[in-house]
Assembly symmetry: C2
Homo-oligomer: 274 residues x 2
């Protein structure tokens, strides 16, 4: 089985992928961006992919949400991964010397307080590990990467300061995606729907949520993403705390479709905590 | 009156600020980041500020939403601004030579298709105009800034390609903020609430939206932002299509508070289209 992830060596995605896909004969496919992971799975280069969809500090990873909107893919599992962000430098650099930090946008966003307080500049890289590798290669003492402990090991960097994220209880939620709807590997405890309302936005989300509420379906996540056609029009990601094997989920979808909304079942899956 | 905006010369915020605050004796306060604008208004350095809160392609500007969560500020107006993003280079550079584009994160996100198709690298700056200025200063022909037509004029750059954003109907919604709740300058047609539920997330948004629906209050915007304490817990921004002068809005707030939710009225305002 070929598995794609956002993957220079040492990335959080790599660590999550290695820890999730165990006991399997996996051929790893390292992609340069989240969109590349989705495309590798979409065009069959990879059988499965693992991508971050939400972080407890930064919120939704919009690149992934927008990618799920435009690619025809299914979610087959959810993986909860504890994240600790560290400031990595070359050996011998001191914290005072650092005036620029390099990382991927969500990681920079998760360390907003640290960045503001230490008045350092930021530079955007495609992944935390690409930033770590660049710090290693350039041998500059005035820059640091924001990346994982795992990346420090991989690139032989020192941890100048650990756990610099705004909140210590930081988790990232990954989803495992595939091109084909396949047999769930775990009990299906959640279902992700993508609802594109036919009507105007005003009032429509309330009417959609009423359907779930009337059927006693609890929701764990609601995210609106712009249709990109006009300000104020949205698609809704709705994650329900029931699997598709349950009759009431099928009923909910039938009702929503009868209202005229476009409903895609992105997947029904269980949760793995790493 | 002192007005703060995200302000190296030539930014979209500057253009919006100059076009919104007309006929007034304004002392401009240019801030280095969105958080700096919020802080300048919060600590009294500026009387008002103007910050982007949503874009029709990128969605919510989460830095602004999170800033409104943590700062004690009011929204007094909404400003809708049409955005066209252009590729700016120094005189004589050709489109083929460009292998790196510089801009602020939301602008890079709004040009995702262009960036992917042209296989250029990206580098993050604090504003579109900081990127434009850097392109001008460095005199490199292999880099381009993504910024406004206005920035091209300000920094004497050429427009190598115009309107490179993913969708041509691109608008950014700004909000005008102040420290004090002040008399609305326009008819109050909208109200922004920030609701922090007391209970668990599951099902609570539905019960909140039911209150508005029961009172025939239509909503124009719903955004959830993580509490940053635990994955799956959120604050909700809810924008209603009614002003606070209307009896039913007061009723909605009383009911939501009776449910035990924490409700902050961020503002009641009208819309200006630039």
């Amino acid at each position: 089985m070929r598995v794609a992830y956002l993957g220079p060596q040492g990335s959080f995605s790599e660590e999550a992928a290695l820890r999730y896909f165990t006991n399997e004969d996996v051929e790893w496919h390292k992609s340069g961006s989240i969109v590349d992971v989705l495309e590798a799975v979409g065009d069959g280069t990879a059988d499965k992919g693992i991508v971050p969809i939400e972080n407890s500090i930064e919120g939704t990873i919009t690149i992934t949400a927008d990618g799920l909107l435009t690619h025809d893919l299914f979610i087959e599992a959810e993986v909860i991964f504890p994240v600790s962000l560290n400031l990595l430098t070359i050996e011998g650099a001191s914290l005072d010397e650092i005036n620029e930090v390099w990382s991927i946008v969500p990681a920079l966003a998760q360390c907003r307080d640290f960045i503001r307080q230490s008045k350092v500049k930021t530079r955007q890289f495609d992944s935390t590990s690409a930033a770590a590798q660049a710090v290693k290669n350039q041998e500059r003492k005035d820059v640091a990467a924001i990346a994982s402990r795992y990346a420090a090991e991989v690139f032989d960097l020192q941890i100048a300061k650990s756990a610099i994220q705004d909140n210590s209880n930081n988790h990232t939620r990954f989803v495992v995606i595939s091109k084909k709807k396949c047999k769930p590997v775990q009990e299906q405890t959640k279902t992700m729907l993508l609802i594109s309302p036919t009507e105007d936005y005003s009032g429509v989300l309330s009417s959609i949520l009423n359907v779930f509420s009337a059927l006693s379906i609890n929701l764990s996540w609601i995210e609106s993403r712009p249709t990109k056609k006009q300000l104020g029009t949205y698609h809704f990601f709705i994650e329900a705390l029931n699997g598709m094997q349950e009759e009431k989920m099928k009923k909910a979808i039938t009702i929503l479709q009868a209202f005229g909304h476009d409903v895609r079942v992105l997947g029904s899956y269980g949760t793995t905590k790493l």
